[in-house]
Subunit: 163 residues, 2 copies
């Protein structure tokens, strides 16, 4: 009885030391868990784009984010990114599918690379435009465990029309 | 005498433990030293582009590099990157200037972001083409200390002509 109580105390201490205090912090610190988190997050980004859910999307973005879209200068900071995506979501009906090819963890940074298929239909009318792109996303681990987008860059897999 | 010999042995042991065996390995492990290394390396990339020095450029590239140029699919692996750059250096006279805006160290990975100004003049004749681009470079620390390019992606800061 005493032994099992001692073991239970030890187990709790170990769980606390390991950061398994119910918040799941430890789980997201393994590369495998980071890969799952990234996979789930980009699927959520695709849903946000489809449904125009700007606030849900921005909840995964750091304050000092830098988004580097093709064909224009870098968009620096969450407020500028908010305005960029408000315009993007407002201008197009968006079908977006991220395909993560690799995820690597370096301490508190996680780098993901992949392709994205995108079809944009102007809300004001006009033909849908399809684009195959590739991307690098860099996430940073937040103090309580979850990853958020810190740097993002994409470009096309095909030459521009007429280019 | 005996004490000083003991101290010298200890000192050597500490230097070996710290990786200060004369190769300067330890120096490149600080974020400040990484930033200097990256700055020097991209200046060397600019020289390589200007002089068509393919081998010097490739000496800074990892075997499992992925180069993600705009307008075409990812170029995967050093052999494919060699062929891409042999074609690039062979087709154009290149003026290239990297401007690193930030460098961050995450253990053995170093992420650099910046802009690059590029003027390409076709060797076969034709007008020079100027491009302002932005980039993310991810370097990995090699076993003996130096950083090498592991992932690279760039895109234009302006829309494509006619696009």
């Amino acid at each position: 009885m005493k032994t099992s109580r001692y073991c239970a105390t030890q187990l709790i201490a170990l769980l606390v030391l390991a950061g398994c205090g119910g918040s799941g912090d430890q789980a997201v610190r393994s590369p495998e868990a980071d890969a799952v988190s990234v996979s789930n997050m980009v699927a959520e980004f695709d849903r946000c784009a489809r449904e125009g859910d700007l606030e849900a999307f921005l909840s995964h973005v750091m304050d000092d984010v830098v988004w580097m879209p093709p064909g224009e200068p870098a968009v620096v900071g969450k407020q500028a990114v908010r305005e960029w995506y408000a315009n993007f979501y407002g201008t197009f009906d968006i079908e977006l599918t991220h395909d993560v090819l690799e995820t690597h963890t370096f301490g508190d940074a996680v780098i993901a690379r992949g392709n994205a298929a995108q079809t944009l239909t102007p809300k004001a009318g006009g033909s849908p435009m399809s684009l195959s792109a590739k991307f690098i996303l860099v996430f940073r681990r937040q103090p309580k465990g979850p990853l958020k987008v810190w740097r993002a860059i994409a470009n096309a897999n095909t030459p521009p029309p007429g280019g």
